[in-house]
Symmetry: C5
C-alpha cells in the first residue's frame, strides 16, 4: 500500500465517474450470493451480475458479496440494477476511503476499514456496504474473504440472524469488521512487549527502525479506524428507518468495542513514544559507557608512558645533575614503582568515583 | 495481565455468546448472598446458584456476590433466573471491559475497574454490577474480596444503608471502588517521591526502567479509570428510575472524588514525563563529566611526553647543532622545568576554565 | 512567497480600500468569459471588463474568470458592474487570505487556497469566487489556469453541468480545488518515502534540512487548507438560497474529500516529526559509532606503546637490578609477547563486549 | 505537603464520616466571630462553638471564622447548629479538596484553594465557606489568617460591605482568595527571570533541580487553581437565590482575574518547558566545548610525538641507509622544523575551521 | 515590561479601588478631544478634563482620547462625568489586562492589546475604550499615539466615518488595533527567516538565546492577542444595542483578520519549535564532527608511534634474537614502510567508511 493509501480520480473529473485504476493487482473478481429468510436458504458462488437479477426481485433477503478489486463495468452494471448512487460507487472503486455512513434515498451506504495483521505488518482493506430493505451488497477490496463466519451462521442457522432483517445482517458484518481490531491490537501488543524486552536487554540500530515502523503502522491504523467510531455512532443516532430498535442495542455494543479499540490504540501510541525515549536514552547510555571504559584504559597508560619517556631521554650523564636516577642501583625498580603507583592511583581514583 | 488487558470473543462470533477463556487462573468460584431490609439480615457464604433462587422471590433486598473468574455455565444459569441481558453477561465474562453504565429494560448494568497497588505494581480487576428493584448482583474478577467493609456496614447496621434501596447499595459499592483510587495514587505518589530522590542523588540504568514502568502503569491506570468519571456522570444525568434523588446527592460526591483522582493522575503523568527529562539530562551530564575528567588527565600528560620524546632522540651529537641541551649541565633539570611548566600551565588553564 | 504569505493594507486604512501591492510579479491580467446554458455555449478569451457587460444582462449563465494578479482598477470596475462588496474585493486583492465563505446580500463570496506541488516545493495560490443567481466570477492569483478541465466539460457537454445552475458550477470549481490536494499529498507522500529510505540508509546534514523543509511546508499547507473544510461545511449547513439540495449532496462528497486530505496531512505531520526523531537518533548513533571505533584503535596501541617506552629507558645496566630484560637472550621476543598479549587481550575483551 | 496533597477516608467508610487525620500539625483551633449590619458591629475572638449560638439567632449577619486544622467534634457541633450537610463537613475535614461550589437545601458550600509563596516555595491551604441567608461560616486550614483585610473593611466601614448581604461578604472573601494568585505568580515570575539569567550565564547541575522544582510547583498550583475558574463561573451561571444581581457583576470581575491567573500560569509552564530545553542544550554545548578544546590540545602533540619517536629509534647506523638524518649537521633543527610545522599546520587548520 | 505584565491591587482591596502604581514611567498625561458629526469637526489637543465637559453635553459625537499612563485622579474625574463603572476604571488603571468586552448599563467597555515591534523586540500596550451613544473615550497606556490615521480620516473626511455613529468609530479603532498585528507578525516572519538562514549556515550559542527569546516573545504575544478574537466575536454575537447591523459586517471582517493573525502566530510558534530542534541537532552534529576529525588525526599517529617506540627499545643486541631489524641494512626504511602502511591503511579504511 502506498503512503497515500487512497485511489482518487484526477482533479476536475466529473463527480461519480467510475475510472479504472492501474494498481497492478487486478485479481479475478468473484461475486457470491446468499438468498435467505427464516425458512429458506440458498447459496451461489462465482456468479455473474446478470445471474443476480432474479434473486433481487424476490421478497426474501439477498446478500450479494463482491470479493476483489472492483471493475468499473461490474460496478456500473450492479449500480444500474440496484439504483446505487454514482458518488457511492465512486467511493467503492476508489479504495482507501475514510470510513463513513451516508444515506441516499432509502439506501444506506457504509464504508469500513478492515485491518489485518500479517507477518508482523498491518494491512488495511476497504469494506463497502449498500443496505436496502431486502438486499445488502458488500464489497471487499482484498483477496481473502473475511465474512465466512457470518455466512456459516446463516447457513447453519446459529443465532437468530436468519429470522431478522438486513439491519441485523449489517450489524453482523459491522461487528465482525470492528472486532477484527482486537486480534490486530493483540498482535501489536505482543510486538510491543517483545520490543520492550529487546529494548532493556540489547537495543541496537535495528530496534530503532522497528519502533519507527511500529509508530508508523499505528499512525496508519489510527487514521483508518478512528472514524469508524463515528460511523457506528451515526448509525445509532441518525435513526435511519432501516435500523430497528433491537439492532440499535447490538450496535451500541459494537460502538463500545470500537471505543475500546481506540483507547487501546492511543495507549499503544503513547507506549511506542515512551519506547523511543527509552531507546534513545539507553542507546546513548550504552555508547557513552563504551567510550568511558575505552578512555579509562587509555588514561591509565598515558601517565606511565610519560615516565618511561623521561627515562628514555639521552641527557649527557657526564654531568652529575643529569638523570642521576639512571645510575641508581634500583633505578629501574624505582621507575616501575612510580609507574605502577600512577596506574594503581588512577585505578583507585576511578574505582572510588565508580567509573568502572 | 497481558498488554491488551481484555478478553474477547473471536471476530464473527454471534453477540452475546458466552465462551470460556483459557486464562490459566480458574480459581474456584465463590457465590455469597446477603438478604436484608431494615429489620432483617441473613448472610450465606459459598452457596450455589440454585440455592439463591428462593431469596430472589422474597420482597427483601438480595445482594448476590460472585467472586473469582466467572464460568460460562454459572453466568448462563444466573442470567436465566434474573433475566440478565446476554450482551451484558458477555461483558462480565470478557473481563478488561471499559467502565460503562447501560440500562436494559428495568435493569441497570454497571462495569467498573478496581485498581490495586500490590508490591509496587498496579493490578486492575473488573467489577460488574446488575441492579434491579430488589436485587443487586455483583461480580468481581479477582481472588480477594474488596466488598467486606460494605458487608460489615450492613451486618452491624452502621450508617443508614440497611433502610435504603438497592440504589444506596449500588452507591456504597461504586463509592468503595472509586475511593480505592486514593490509596493507589498515594502509593504512586510515594514511588514518585522516592524516584525523585534517587534521580537527583545517583541515577543509574535501573532508574530509567523504573520511570518507564511508572509511565506505563499510569497509562494503563488512566485508560481503565478515565471512563469511570463518565459512568458516574451518566448515572447522575440519565435519571434512571432506580436511582433516587437522595442517592444522586451522594453520587455527586462520588463524581467529585473520581475527578480528583483523574486530576492527580494527570499531574503524576506530567511529573513522570518531567522525571524522564531530568534523568536524561543528569545521566548525560554525569557521563560527560566522567569523560571530561578522563580527558583532562590524558591531556595533562601528552605534551610533556612529547618533550620526553624529543630528548630521547638519537641525533649525532658530534655536530654541535644537534641536541646541545643533552650536554648542558642542568639539561635534565631544564627538561623537567619545561615539562612541569607544561603540566602546571595546563592545570592553571583548566582551573581557570573551571574544568575540574 | 514570504513567510507571512499575506498581503495587507497598512493599519488604519479604511476597510474596503483597494490598494496596489508592489509584489514585483505583475503579469498581464487575462479575463475570459463563458456564456452557457443547456443549449447555448459561447467562449471568449482575453476580453476587457467592458466587453463582459452585455453578457451579464442576458438570462444565460455567465462565468467570468480573471487570471493573474488582480489590479485595483479592474477590480473596482468589475465590482461596480456586479455590485460586489468592497470588503470582498479587498480580500481578492490582498491574496493569502484564509479560506472562507461569506454571503453579501444575495451574493456568495468564497475564498479557497489552491495548492500546487512544483519541483518538490509547495506553492499556494488564492482562488476567489463570487456567485450570483446567473453569474459566477472567479479570480485566480497565479499564472497558470487550473480550471481548464471544467471549461472542457462545459464545452464538450460531458456530465450534466451545462443544464444546472451556478451552484453546480461552484461545486465543480470547489471540487477541483479541493481534489488538487490529492496529487499534492501524493507528492508529499513520495517525498516522505524517499526521505525514510535515505534516513535509514545514509542520513547526512542535508537530510536534516530536507526534513525541516518538509515540516515547514506541511505547516504552511495545513494553515491554508485546514479552514477549507469549514468553508464547505458552512456552504452545506448555512442553507444559502443559491445552493440547491442536489448540489448539497455533491458538496457533502467534497467535504468528505476535504476531511480525508486533512487526515492525511495530520498523518504526514506526525510522520515528519517521527522522521526527525529517527534522524536525530541515527545520526547521533552513527557519529558515536565512529568515535567508538576510533577510540578502540587508539586504545589498542596505547598500552603496548607504554611497554615499548619502558624498554627504551636508559637505566645504567651496570647495576644488575636495572632492566635485566634487556640482556635476556629472548628479551625482544619477550617484549613482543607482552605487547601482543596486551593487544590480543584487549581485542578479545572488546569482542566479548561487542564493541566492534 | 505530601504529593497526594489530599486527606481521605479509607475506602468503604460511610460517606459523611468525620474522621480525625493524624497529620502531626494539630494547632489550637481558633474560632472568631463578627456580628454586623449597616449600623451594628461586634467582634469576638477565640470563642467556643457554644458561645456562637446566641449570635446565630439574631437577624444581623454573622460571620464565623474557624482558623486552623478542624477537629471532628467541633465540626460536628457546628454542623448540628447550622444544619450543614455531612458530605460538606467531610470535605472541610479532608483538606486538599478540589475547589468546587455546591448547594445543599438553602445553603451554598464553596471550597477554594489559597496559594501562598513562602521562601521561594509554594504552599496551598484550603478555604471552605458555608453561606446561608444571614450567616457565613469560613474555615481555613492553615495557621496564618488571610482574611484580616476584609475584617478591617467591615470594622472601619470602608466600601459598602457593611450594608450588603452575605453574598457581598462571600464575594469579598472569594475575591481575596483569587487575587492572592497575583503576588504568587509575581513571585514565580521573578524566580523565572532569575533562572533565565542564571541559565544563559552559568548553568550548573543545581539549575536543573531548580527548573524541575519550578515545573512541579506550577503543576501543583495549576491543579489546585484551575477548577477555581469553574467555581466562580458556576456561582455566576447557576443563579443561586443567595447571589444577587449586583454581586454577580463583581463576581464577573473576579472570574476575569481567575482567567488572567490561569493564562499567566500556562505561559509560565511553557516558559519553564522552554528553559529546560535551553538548559539541556547549553549544558551539553558547554561540556562539548570543553571536550573539543581538550582534544585539540591532545591532537596538537600526538603527531610531533610520533616524529620524536622516530628519531629515538636505535637502528644500526653502520648501514648508511639507516636514519641518515641523525648524522646530519642540522638534523636536530630539521626535526624541530618538522615537528613545529606539524603543530603550526594543525593550529592553522583548526583556526581555519574555527575549532578554537 | 515585567514578566507578569500586569498591574494589580493588593489582595483584599475593595473592588473598583483606583490606586496609583509606581511604575517609574509616569509621563505627562495628554488628553485630546474630537467633536464631530457629518457636517461639523473640531479638534482640541492637550486639554483638561474640565474643558471636556461642555462637549459632552452637545448632541454631536465626542471622542476623548487619553494618552499615557492614567492617573487615579483624572480617571476618577472622568468616571464621575461619564458615569463609567468603577470596575472598568480599575481595569484601565491596572494595565496588562486580558482583552475583553463588557457592557455596563448602556455602556460598552472594551479592552484591547496593541502590539508593537520595536528594535526587534515586542512591546504590548493596553487600549481601553468606553462607548456610549454619543461619546467614545479611549485610553492608551503608552507614549506614542497609534490613532492618528483614524483622526486623519475624520479630519479629511475620507471614507464615511464622519456620517456614522460611535460604533463605526469603535470599529475603526478596533480594526486599527487588530491590523497592527500584521506588521508585527511580518517583523517576526523576517526574524524567523533570518534565523533559519543563520541556523543552517553557522549556528552558535547566540542563536540559541535568540530562538529562546523568539519563543518567549511569541508566548507573550499569544497570551495578549488570543482573547482579542473572542472580544470581537462577543461584539458580533451579543447583539449590544450600540452596534448596528452595518457595523457588524465590518466587525466580521475584523474578526477574520484576528483569526488570520492567530493562525500565523500558531504557525510561527511551530516554526520556532522546529528551529530549536534543528539548532540542537545541527549544533550537536557540528561538535561531533569536530571531535571526529580530531580523533581521526590522533588515531592516525598512535599506531606508528607504537612502532617507533619499538625500535627505540634498548635490548642488548649481543643476542642475535634481540631486535635484529636494527641491524638490517634497510631496517630504517623497513620501519618507515610499516609506519606509512599503517597510516595509509587507516586512511583508506577511514575514507572507505566516509569518516572524513
Amino acid at each position: 500500500m502506498s503512503l497515500l493509501g487512497k485511489s482518487y480520480n484526477p482533479p476536475g473529473t466529473p463527480p461519480g465517474s467510475l475510472l479504472a485504476h492501474d494498481r497492478g493487482r487486478l485479481e479475478a473478481l468473484r461475486i457470491s450470493l446468499i438468498e435467505y429468510n427464516d425458512s429458506y436458504f440458498e447459496e451461489r458462488k462465482a456468479i455473474s451480475v446478470d445471474e443476480c437479477r432474479p434473486y433481487l426481485a424476490t421478497p426474501t433477503l439477498t446478500w450479494i458479496h463482491v470479493q476483489g478489486t472492483a471493475e468499473p463495468e461490474v460496478l456500473h452494471n450492479l449500480g444500474e440494477q440496484l439504483k446505487l448512487h454514482r458518488l457511492a460507487l465512486e467511493d467503492v472503486l476508489n479504495t482507501g476511503q475514510r470510513p463513513k455512513a451516508e444515506s441516499y434515498e432509502g439506501q444506506l451506504f457504509v464504508v469500513l476499514s478492515l485491518p489485518n495483521f500479517k507477518n508482523g505488518r498491518i494491512d488495511i482493506s476497504q469494506v463497502s456496504l449498500f443496505i436496502g430493505a431486502d438486499y445488502l451488497v458488500s464489497f471487499h477490496s482484498a483477496t481473502d474473504d473475511p465474512f465466512e463466519p457470518v455466512r456459516k451462521r446463516l447457513r447453519e442457522q446459529t443465532g437468530r440472524l436468519r429470522g431478522l432483517g438486513t439491519d441485523a445482517l449489517l450489524h453482523a458484518l459491522v461487528d465482525l469488521v470492528i472486532d477484527q481490531g482486537f486480534p490486530v491490537l493483540e498482535g501489536f501488543g505482543e510486538r510491543i512487549e517483545e520490543l520492550e524486552e529487546e529494548l532493556l536487554q540489547h537495543p541496537d540500530k535495528h530496534t530503532l527502525a522497528v519502533i519507527h515502523q511500529l509508530k508508523r503502522d499505528l499512525l496508519v491504523l489510527r487514521r483508518m479506524l478512528w472514524p469508524q467510531r463515528e460511523v457506528i455512532n451515526s448509525l445509532l443516532r441518525d435513526g435511519h428507518h432501516l435500523i430497528h430498535e433491537t439492532t440499535r442495542l447490538y450496535l451500541r455494543d459494537c460502538y463500545d468495542h470500537a471505543i475500546q479499540i481506540m483507547d487501546l490504540m492511543e495507549s499503544y501510541r503513547d507506549m511506542a513514544a515512551g519506547m523511543l525515549d527509552v531507546y534513545l536514552s539507553s542507546s546513548s547510555n550504552r555508547l557513552n559507557e563504551v567510550m568511558r571504559v575505552l578512555t579509562v584504559i587509555a588514561t591509565l597508560f598515558i601517565p606511565p608512558t610519560f615516565i618511561a619517556g623521561i627515562y628514555g631521554m639521552n641527557f649527557d650523564r657526564s654531568s652529575p645533575w643529569n638523570m642521576p636516577e639512571l645510575g641508581w642501583r634500583y633505578g629501574y625498580a624505582f621507575s616501575w614503582v612510580i609507574m605502577l603507583a600512577m596506574i594503581i592511583g588512577l585505578l583507585v581514583f576511578f574505582k572510588h568515583k565508580r567509573w568502572f
